[in-house]
């Protein structure tokens, strides 16, 4: 009996094999990865860090041609305003051509996703920049996470150090398609100056009710989202 079962299985196997050979399953990644860029060479070492994220983090790139590449290791160089990805296949850090990028997403240590998009900034510091979208709406709140390389005291807590350091100089922008960009400070007065007097009173109440004090970027974004959710008119 066992012999017969084996015979049946063998026959089925023989019948199936030509069919398997005849039909090919197209490879999933037959359109090979096409991120364009140049080899990233690190700058000389100074005090501080030119990168937003010290280590490569999982991210996603949306290219200008509509291609979406996810699950790749990304790093954002604030100083050069460049996106760097780690190519596992060739074990190389590659500076992605800015012209080819539409937007990208970085995942921070907490697992939160940060969406950056390339926009041509007008006005103060004009040019193509990667801007993080803090809040999206009719008026969008964006931040350019710029760092500057400035001279600094050579003698620090641990003795003699480098004479230059990377220092945060983030620029926050309000953006509207019609009106363009306007700088804004992530502070209470700056936010209130963009609202009608009646809305200022209302926002004060709402902030008090929510026990929200605008002390840093996180709280500023929360307050901004309250402005949007309460449909207050923004003037800039």
């Amino acid at each position: 009996m066992r012999c017969k079962i084996w015979l049946v299985f063998t026959l089925f196997g023989l019948m199936a094999s030509p069919r398997l050979a005849a039909q090919e399953v197209l490879p999933g990644e037959w359109n090979a990865q096409k991120i364009k860029g140049i080899r990233f060479l690190p700058d000389a070492t100074y005090q501080g860090n030119p990168f937003l994220n010290d280590q490569f983090t999982s991210g996603e790139i949306n290219l200008a041609d509509g291609t979406k590449i996810s699950g790749i290791q990304l790093k954002y160089n604030n100083y050069r305003d460049e996106l760097i990805y780690y190519n596992n296949a060739v074990s190389t850090q590659i500076e992605v051509d800015k012209i080819s990028v539409k937007s990208f997403v970085l995942t921070d240590d907490k697992g939160d996703k940060h969406f950056y998009r390339k926009q041509t900034v007008t006005g103060y510091l004009p040019g193509e920049r990667y801007l993080e979208v803090l809040s999206e709406g009719e008026v969008t709140l964006l931040v350019h996470r710029k760092v500057l390389l400035l001279t600094c005291p050579v003698y620090g807590e641990v003795g003699k150090e480098k004479s230059m350091s990377y220092q945060e100089a983030f620029n926050y922008y309000l953006y509207n398609v019609k009106k363009g960009f306007e700088l804004i400070k992530p502070a209470k007065n700056s936010l209130f100056s963009k609202l009608d007097p009646s809305d200022q009173l209302l926002l004060r109440k709402i902030l008090r009710k929510n026990d929200l004090k605008i002390t840093d970027e996180e709280h500023f974004v929360k307050a901004w989202n309250l402005v949007l959710s309460n449909k207050m008119a923004i003037h800039f």
Binding site: R19, A22, Q23, E24, V25, L26, P27, W30, N31, A32, Q33, K34, I35, K36, G37, I38, R39, L41, A64, D65, N87, A89, V90, T92, I94, D97, I99, S100
Partner: protein
Amino acid sequence: MLLVTLYGKAQGKECFGLFTDRDLYTSGETMLLKAFAPSAVQGGILTVDLFNAKGEMIASVPLQISDNQADGFLSLNDTLSSGSYLLRVLTQTSVTQTVKELYILNRFTGVTESGISFRPAAAISTPDSIQPLFTVSGAEKNYKRREKAHLTIHFPADWMALTEGPLCLYVAQAIPEYNAQTFVLNHKPKFSSNAGNEGIIISGIATDPATSTPFKNGVITLSVPDSLPRFNYYTTGENGRFYFQLKDYHGRISLVLNGNDPTNYRPMKISLDKQENLLSSLPPFKTGIFPPELRKVAAKNVEALNFSKIFKQQQISVLPAKISKTDAYPFYGVPERVIYPKLFVDLSNFEEISRELLQGIKFRDNNHHPTFQILNAQRNSFFTEQPLVLLNGVPVRNLNDIKDLGSREIDRIEISQYERYFGNLRFSGVVAIYAPKFDFEGLKESDDLIKLSLDAVQPRAVFNPAPNDQAKEPDLRQVLLWQPILKPETTIGVDFQTSDIIGKFRVVISGKRRDGRLFFEEQSFEVN
């Protein structure tokens, strides 16, 4: 009124419908095509292939599917010999193929002396029962030459809901003596994924020329020469197979496939998959005698075609190919420097150009062994490897191909002096030479280089209107009207003008129902 409804299903599988303007053609003519795809095939492309009696593919036309249908044309080569041919429609992943028998006469030799043709002995398609669908009013039995005709097709209202997509309407010469058969065959698709229908697939295998074993980790590049070249690559696996899909390409394109081993520099042989031979899947054929009446009609058609060639009459006008969506900048990045050698003093060869105009680039021709080096702008030292040298977008491995290019031949030279990456490919700098007059015929094919020209998605064509009925030139149209996309309406007015060709003609309307059934109906008339 003759009415036939074809049940477009073979062994329970919905199949393609294939219609041509006529069944008998003369070499040098243009065949007009209409294909209805199964409901499952929502988009992408289908291919219409022409096979000769030996089952060899003569021509292939990829057509864009829209609304489960596609239409196009096939230009029949002047050199086709007289005999039976088979026209086949399918997609790269379909499990059925629809085949239509045709007869093509060579316009120089006419019908073969022996007069023997062959026909399928058994058709596999299963014609369904005949049910009247349309009524036609205003049609005459006889028309005069160059007479304007008008008829009205009344489409039953209940069929409107059952009809899927537009109809196809045409008025063309009818040859009752030759009734071409259409049959459905099973097809073993080469690829199983639906993604295979989105574009033309070019596939093949890379092997080690010494052992003929599959070449693992070989890089096959595909280049489309252009002012903004297109480039793609594939890294082979254990089986050495490679695949490229060409999407968004229209009209005739030239391609160059190049194989190389970027790590160990081993020699490689690349070969494309052979074209399918239809003969193995065909039903048995029987031979027959070419009827004398048909021989007369065929002779007249050949004469008409020869005259229409003399008067340069065209039944269709091909619209310009849709411009393919291109990238904003080349695959090797925005060049840091662009040199226009024509703006400088005449330099006779590339070595002189490199010495005089290309800073940081060292091209030297030492006893027919040219070398190329480029300065790395990031490290300020020369790369040890040769840069990627492109000629009109095609990678050049043999530098002898470019050494004789002088400044008069070169339009521009684009240079990138960085270590560039395109996906997983690394280039030690890039020098892209654009020489518009360079003939790729001069690029020699080798084990690792294949040149090919193929038809990408066919551009659309429009049927030319009838000439003025007072025109002095003979009107030799065998197709009086061709409307492959006709909106189904309860009343359809049909206007056409007969030509100087006398004989039998037919008005044909075809379409597809939502249940997958194909239908066509024809009304015959005679021109005296």
